[in-house]
Amino acid sequence: MSLRSPLRIVAGLGSARGGSGHWYAQRVSAVALALLGLWLVIALASLGGASHARVVAWLSSPVSSALAVLLVLAAAWHALLGLQVVIEDYVSDKGSRAAILFAVKFALAVAAVVGVMAVLRIAFGAAA
């Protein structure tokens, strides 16, 4: 879905050079996270103990591992979009802003890949 106005598309540059895509992605990831976050809470509440065997059994089911991967991706995406706004609002120096945004994006990308790989290792039975 595109929220860009025809004028914005023709002119190429708005005052902020963008934003509706960011705004919309933040909402999409927010709704995804609301559902996946509630799923995680319910799953943890009904785990029946936090032993390694329990956690591995839980994440070995196809539905749980798929939802866990989605949760990690949606959380990283939403965190990136949100932290970006906070950094852009409070860090006015262009150089520091770019450097901090760069570091945050790298850190979240690493965390997301580590999280996904961890879930996949468990799901494919490599964590026993």
Partner: protein, 131 residues
């Protein structure tokens, strides 16, 4: 040409009230939840690393200071969730009347505390105390 004295940015002379309290709390809890996401990844990575690593991670996660931080994360999650839903209604154009916005604000704040306690004790019960 000499610069005229420009008007100050509005946030410098606005009165502090519930609206901006909820707004800044949304940001603070959002930043906290980004750190909470890293803890979730740490937990998953430990589980993927085998029983030995997982046991060591549980010791870290079960220590008192970390438990306090995790309770903070539970509150941040509940507050950010409820206020996020409130903002989705705002985005759709609902709830802007001052009386409604005030009610939803207090409901969000109170609901977050209640929900955080519920989530905390439910997850503790489900994970045998080592949430």
């Amino acid at each position: 040409m000499a610069q005229r004295a420009r008007p100050l940015s509005p946030f410098l002379h606005y009165r502090w009230q519930y609206t901006n309290t909820l707004s800044i709390l949304h940001r603070i809890t959002g930043v906290l939840l980004s750190l909470g996401f890293l803890v979730l990844v740490y937990w998953l990575a430990a589980a993927a690393g085998g029983p030995g690593r997982y046991a060591r991670a549980l010791e870290v996660l079960g220590s008192s200071p970390v438990q306090l931080l995790l309770f903070g994360a539970a509150f941040a999650f509940c507050y950010h969730l409820l206020n996020g839903i409130r903002h989705l209604f705002f985005d759709a154009g609902y709830g802007f009347e001052p009386a409604t916005a005030r009610k939803s604000a207090y409901a969000t704040a109170a609901g977050a505390v209640v929900l955080a306690l519920l989530v905390w004790f439910a997850v503790r019960a489900g994970t045998g105390g080592a949430a």
